[in-house]
């Protein structure tokens, strides 16, 4: 592994991945429109149901959480398939014979899909705040920031997961394996303090828990809280760890 990361080679990868995305107009359209549309469905589900006394609107709580979950899930799927394609098309083997290092390749991917996620989050948050009146106490810019951190986490886990899949069928099935336990335990379905002790511990070590917690912090206070920054730090750290593991599982020499 090379000692220093080359920004030039990382940027070359980012620009290449974004160009591939640009040629796939339908995917771009789906990335931008689908999260907002699904959020609309959630809005309609709860629009006629009055909230429990003293509780915030259910849509405000669930909708805000979903702003973090969508980019995580979508980017996980997109990246694990993209990386699998690199493997099966022979382009990965070829890249590994060029001066591009493995961390540069993976960071390039992370940056490309992180940028895509930023645009997606801007659209979705704008739609949520204007069309569905999503009530967030803190600044919307922080919601976008957390959504991007979640997306990068999804990218990193997707890159790692693709090492354990040798076909698209396998890659797609890894999505529920990685995503659903984190979703079940993050506190959205059942408040975390009501979970059995060992399930709380399981939630404590899963990064999506911190992503959801960060969003709830923004939803509940007008300025960024220390807890929120710690949460964002944990999510980013988990993303870096996953990228490191993905680089380690990416073998230059194969049998």
């Amino acid at each position: 592994m090379t000692a220093a990361l080359s920004p030039r080679l990382t940027a070359a990868t980012t620009s290449r991945v974004l160009r591939q995305l640009r040629h796939d107009r339908r995917t771009v359209a789906m990335l931008l429109v689908l999260p907002g549309a699904l959020l609309g469905l959630l809005y309609l589900i709860w629009s006629e149901i009055p909230p429990a006394p003293g509780q915030p609107e259910t849509f405000d709580r669930v909708g805000l959480t979903m702003l973090g979950v969508f980019p995580f899930v979508v980017m996980f799927l997109v990246t694990s398939i993209a990386m699998l394609r690199e493997r099966t098309s022979g382009t990965l083997e070829r890249l590994l014979t060029t001066p591009l290092s493995r961390p540069e390749l993976l960071l390039g991917y992370g940056a490309a899909f992180g940028l895509a996620a930023a645009v997606q989050a801007l659209v979705t948050v704008t739609v949520a705040a204007t069309v569905y009146d999503l009530d967030v106490a803190g600044p919307l810019a922080l919601v976008v920031l957390i959504a991007v951190a979640d997306a990068v986490l999804g990218v990193a886990l997707g890159l790692l997961a693709s090492a354990f899949a040798s076909s698209e069928f396998q890659a797609v099935q890894l999505m529920p394996v990685v995503v659903l336990p984190q979703f079940f335990l993050c506190g959205l379905l059942v408040p975390r303090e009501q979970l059995a002790g060992w399930l709380q511990v399981a939630g404590d070590v899963l990064p999506l828990t911190y992503a959801v917690d960060a969003l709830q912090e923004v939803g509940g206070s007008t300025a960024a809280t220390g807890t929120m920054w710690v949460d964002v730090g944990v999510v980013s750290g988990a993303a870096l760890l996953a990228l490191g593991l993905a680089a380690a599982t990416l073998r230059r020499r194969t049998s």
């Binding site: 796939d24 014979t97 001066p99």
Partner: protein, 240 residues
């Protein structure tokens, strides 16, 4: 000095021995043909030379360094058997990407595209191209780095005779300019176009010679017949 030196190379894939102790040398500035039937271990040997093959034992030295060294990656170009380019990018975008990885600009990308005769298709998506065009797009992505050693795995498969002729002229022009080329093929009629020949069968090297030496050693003008003669001799040696 030889561009590539292979010593006692053994490669296993699962329980199967794919290369059974190969030793050979590839001289600098020549076109060396790696010939043998499908499944003889050609691609595995090429993968070992570019440093992406796990090897059991033996050594591969490329341009004076162990195969796969970081310092070699800007000096060696590799074209896999299946075209390894991005189908969802245009020919130009592919060439520019690999140019960027080698620290070269758009002009180098255009030159490489022209070299493989794809200038008219530069703006087309690779997935819209014919098989032969895809192969040439893949070749352009290796030429773009102007490597000292060019490793080509069956680059002429599926090409019409005119294009094949053009590519072989291109290979010899590169060799005259100092580039070392290793070109694999399972078509023996391409053997006569190489400066040197490595004949591989069932993971063993049958011959490492020039086409003329091979003809002289087997007493036949036809390289197809020469290959057959070598197979019979080695079978007789093995039986004895």
């Amino acid at each position: 000095m030889d561009a590539v030196a292979v010593t006692d190379l053994v490669v296993h894939r699962g329980a199967r021995e794919v290369l059974a102790g190969i030793g050979c040398a590839v001289p600098t500035g020549q076109v060396t043909g790696l010939l043998g039937p499908s499944g003889s271990g050609k691609s595995t040997l090429l993968r070992a030379i570019v440093g992406v093959q796990q090897v059991r034992s033996g050594s591969v030295t490329v341009l004076g360094r162990p195969a796969g060294s970081a310092a070699l990656r800007s000096r060696v170009g590799y074209v896999t058997q299946a075209p390894s380019v991005y189908a969802d990018l245009t020919v130009r975008e592919n060439a520019r990407h690999f140019a960027a990885l080698h620290g070269r600009g758009a002009a180098a990308a255009e030159a490489a595209i022209t070299d493989v005769g794809l200038a008219d298709a530069a703006g087309q998506l690779v997935q819209a191209l014919s098989g032969g065009q895809r192969g040439r797009a893949s070749l352009a992505c290796a030429l773009v780095g102007e490597p000292e050693l060019l490793v080509l795995d069956e680059p002429t498969v599926g090409l019409d005779p005119v294009l094949r002729e053009e590519l072989w002229s291109r290979f010899h022009a590169l060799a005259e300019a100092g580039t070392t080329l290793i070109v694999s093929s399972h078509v023996l009629d391409e053997a006569g176009r190489c400066d040197r020949l490595l004949l591989l069968r069932e993971g063993r090297l049958l011959s490492d010679s020039t086409p003329d030496e091979l003809r002289a050693a087997t007493g036949t003008q036809d390289l197809d017949q020469a290959f057959l003669a070598l197979v019979r001799t080695s079978a007789a040696v093995a039986a004895a």
